[in-house]
């Protein structure tokens, strides 16, 4: 494989890595059911808003 092709592949991988990192740091996180069995998380999971 020529160095040029290798550089292109690396460039694409690098762009993907930077893109993923930005996505990871900015994505909106939601409480996942079962992400922890801590009682506090359970309480939070179960809390629902009061309708007006």
């Amino acid at each position: 494989m020529s160095i040029l092709i290798q550089q292109i592949i690396i460039g694409l991988i690098l762009a993907g890595a930077v893109g993923y990192l930005i996505y990871h740091l900015t994505k909106k996180r939601k409480m996942k059911k079962g992400c922890s069995n801590c009682p506090a998380v359970k309480i939070t999971e179960q809390k629902r808003a009061v309708p007006e």
Partner: protein, 804 residues
């Protein structure tokens, strides 16, 4: 489906049903109204306000509205939804009619705790009927409640026995409620202290036209910063604010804390009533949970057991994980070798071997430690010990005024700060919630474990003390404690400065102990390992790839560098040989042939020399035996010295070239620029850039160190394990050139930095999401980074000054 609309006819009577979470209230609501509503198993399942209707022959042509009030342990309200629920009971929720009767459902197996809530409900002044639910379970536990006496002590409130899940007693409860609708039985009793009663009176006098129930006024007084106060201040303005401050000051003077004026009175009264109405089995019949709790929650034994458990878990991490880590290390070594065998040398091969395998593989080596840690955490959680640990920690740190409510999210942060920060939503007091959010990242999350593990394994000796205490396990225990202690201190400071707030009431349900099931433990361990592996394969790999690129480019040609340097070395040798011929002739002009032959014979002894030390020793002995040949021997010594150096330089050439390449990379140049700022912490540029690169995610330091050491070293070294490479690393230049980079103070300095620093981008983003303001994550980042730098600096300087 439930009927959410309220028919506001003049005739319609309203009954509210309330109680503690999990008391079976919703089941009884369903029985009465006929609505089919799901009954959940967790506290807070009915935060939604749900209403239904029922009729009774004594009130023909009328439907009675029944409102299901969210389950709560107390009427204290700090969030808007809790305030709406409480306001319905106070009768001042504008969108609804005031309840005519309240049905208070009480868990008969947990009467004492339920009484606290009941006494608060009593303060509403609305007629109350008490339903003693789960009376079958109470009977099974041999708990007998004197209903008549209870009713009497509660000012005549009707008390009904219920078995909610079978509908037993529900008709009687309905009868009593309807009966109260037609009567006017008000049972307000004034249990509160003199100061509180005066405060209630003063608030009534402030605005006699405002129809506020006694329960509502108590919330204004006690729920500092809550919605009741907010609403009160909106109506009463400055005069109200001044009066409220005055009356609270008086109460605090008498009770030390504002909330104590309520909790102590109600707890005492609950105890009094409880002791008069209950017949419980003897101590011998106590449940197993109670028996175990006598030791595990003991004021002295409890913390000792907690500390012992922590120590055992951390010690196991080191003792049990090592063989498995070796297997994983070998596995990645094999992959790297096969990739090297398959691909020609070039950037892509370097990315795969030095970056991905060296970096991500280095992190995955810690899977056994994660498995062991979460195996124990799963057992402790499933057995019911974790809430008790929170209780013990709360008791230990109560002196500084930190609420136990903060400890549950903080406990959750030991796995990961993100669910911990989200769990702070259960903290009603806004200020306390923000304090908890700001200190939760100080808890030792699982991402810190690999960092601690590698530093401890490499630099803390496996020494035993008194046969049990091992230095490695002890160091890890102390690092976990460091997080807790600093979190407590920071909370205390925040509480006294930026977020001035009262210590809230901490009511927590202690579940019964149970034997953890293998399935549940395995699922939890599997989930955590999955999380760790996914993280290594995503975010850590992404950062590793970026770091590899920064430390690989701009790439200097290795072959050209080697050729250039070889040429330089060869020239040095040639020059030395030229000089020795010339100087030998000038020094030996006066020597006889026999002397020259003797000197040459002596010089030939130098050719077998392999080290500088050996060379010096032979030269010194020769000079002492043949002082006349001093100058000539010194000349040979100097020449051989140059030759030895050149030969060593040639042997070390691959390392030197790799070092030159990484130093001239973008990362190397940046690292060298900022190195002086981190030198007081004992760090060289490689540690500095590795730590800085781990700000998005802390485990990255291992991957980055792996990548840097792989790129910056000869691949033919005896051992390629990161620990060995770290142990061998030396300072490249400056005063410490040639000295070992890593030592115990440096390792401790790095670990202290990681213990105190917020190196997790996802946590900072979550803080912003939860607080809706960028100021908080910025504040957390600044204070934690400053704390980490200062802590690390102090640790390094102190440890080096004591000679470690």
């Amino acid at each position: 489906m439930h009927q959410a609309t309220i028919d506001k006819t003049a005739k319609q009577k309203v009954v509210a049903i309330c109680g503690n979470p999990n008391c079976g209230k919703t089941t009884i609501f369903n029985y009465i109204t006929g609505l089919n509503q799901q009954v959940g198993n967790y506290p807070g399942v009915t935060v939604e306000k749900i209403s239904g209707k029922f009729s009774h022959p004594s009130l023909p042509n009328q439907s009675i509205q029944l409102i299901d009030i969210p389950g709560t342990y107390s009427l204290s309200a700090f969030t808007p939804d809790e305030f709406i629920a409480a306001s319905v009971l106070f009768g001042n929720f504008t969108k609804m009619d005031k309840p005519d009767v309240i049905i208070a459902i009480i868990d008969a197996t947990n009467l004492e705790r339920s009484l606290y809530f009941l006494l608060q409900v009593q303060q509403t002044g609305i007629p109350v009927v008490v339903g003693l639910n789960m009376s079958d379970l109470a009977a099974k536990k041999k708990i007998k409640i004197d209903r008549k006496k209870l009713s009497e002590l509660l000012g005549g409130m009707p008390v009904v026995d219920l078995i909610g899940n079978r509908g037993i007693g529900v008709d009687e409860l309905k009868e009593e409620a309807v009966h109260l609708l037609n009567s006017d039985l008000r049972t307000v009793d004034k249990y509160y202290s003199h100061e509180t009663e005066n405060a209630v009176e003063e608030l009534i006098q402030l605005n006699p036209h405002e129809d506020r129930s006694r329960a509502h006024l108590l919330r204004i007084i006690f729920d500092a910063g809550g919605p009741a106060e907010e609403q009160f201040l909106q109506i009463e303005g400055e005069a109200g604010e001044k009066l409220l401050a005055e009356i609270r000051k008086k109460i605090i003077k008498e009770h030390s804390y504002l909330t104590h004026a309520e909790t102590s009175v109600l707890t005492k009264k609950s105890e009094e009533i409880f002791n008069q109405v209950i017949t419980k089995p003897d101590v011998a019949d106590k449940t197993n949970t109670e028996k175990v709790d006598r030791y595990l929650l003991h004021p002295v034994l409890g913390p000792i057991i907690l500390f012992g458990l922590m120590y055992f878990v951390f010690q196991s991490i080191f003792s049990w994980a090592e063989p498995f880590m070796g297997i994983i290390e070998q596995f990645f070594g094999m992959i790297a070798s096969s990739v090297e065998g398959m691909m020609a040398e070039g950037p892509l091969r370097s990315l795969l071997t030095d970056g991905v395998i060296g970096g991500v593989g280095g992190v995955l080596v810690f899977i056994p430690q994660i498995v062991i840690l979460f195996f124990f955490i799963a057992i402790l959680e499933d057995s019911g010990y974790m809430p008790r640990a929170a209780f013990l920690v709360d008791r230990m740190f109560r002196w500084c005024g930190l609420s136990g409510k903060s400890f549950i999210p903080m406990l959750s942060s030991f796995a990961c700060a993100i669910p911990g920060i989200m769990a702070t939503r259960t903290i009603e007091d806004k200020k306390l919630r923000f304090i908890t959010i700001m200190v939760a990242p100080l808890m030792t999350c699982s991402a810190r474990l690999p960092v601690y593990a590698i530093m401890i394994a490499a630099f803390v000796p496996y020494k035993s003390y008194f046969g049990i205490a091992n230095l490695q396990g002890l160091t890890l225990t102390l690092l976990y404690l460091l997080g807790i202690v600093v979190a407590v201190i920071v909370s205390f400071i925040l509480k006294k400065t930026i977020f001035k707030t009262e210590r809230g009431t901490f009511l927590m349900e202690m579940p019964s102990y149970k034997v953890p099931t293998a399935k549940s433990v395995l699922i939890r361990v599997y989930n955590r390992v999955k999380h760790f592996v996914v993280r290594a394969g995503t975010v850590i790999m992404a950062i590793t790839i970026i770091i590899w690129a920064l430390s690989y480019y701009p790439h200097q040609d290795g072959e050209a560098l080697t050729a250039e340097r070889t040429e330089e070395i060869n020239q040095t040798i040639a020059l030395s040989e030229m000089n020795i011929d010339k100087e030998f002739n000038s020094l030996t002009t006066a020597f006889s042939e026999a002397q020259i032959a003797e000197v040459s014979r002596l010089a030939s002894a130098f050719t077998a020399v392999t080290s500088q030390e050996q060379l010096s020793s032979i030269a010194d002995s020769m000079i002492s035996l043949y002082p006349a040949y001093n100058e000539v021997i010194s000349l040979y010594k100097s020449h051989e010295f140059t030759k030895l150096e050149a030969s060593q330089a040639l042997n070390n050439l691959p390392n030197e070239v790799a070092g030159t390449q990484i130093r001239s990379s973008y990362l190397g140049k940046a690292g060298k620029t900022i190195e002086p700022f981190f030198e007081p912490l004992g760090w060289d540029w490689k540690i500095t850039v590795s730590v800085l690169a781990s700000f998005p995610a802390r485990e990255v330091i291992i991957a980055v160190l792996g990548t840097i050491y792989n790129l910056g070293s000869d691949i033919d070294e005896e051992s390629t394990s990161l620990i060995d490479q770290m142990r061998q690393a030396t300072w490249e230049d400056g005063e410490k050139a040639g000295m070992k980079v890593f030592s115990i103070p440096v390792a401790i300095s790095i670990m202290v930095f990681f213990a105190l620093c917020c190196q997790c981008g996802a946590t900072l983003v979550t803080i912003k999401q939860e607080t809706k303001h960028w100021g908080y994550p910025i504040g957390v980042f600044v204070y934690m980074t400053t704390l980490a730098y200062l802590g690390s600096f102090a640790a390094y300087q102190i440890l080096t000054s004591v000679g470690l």
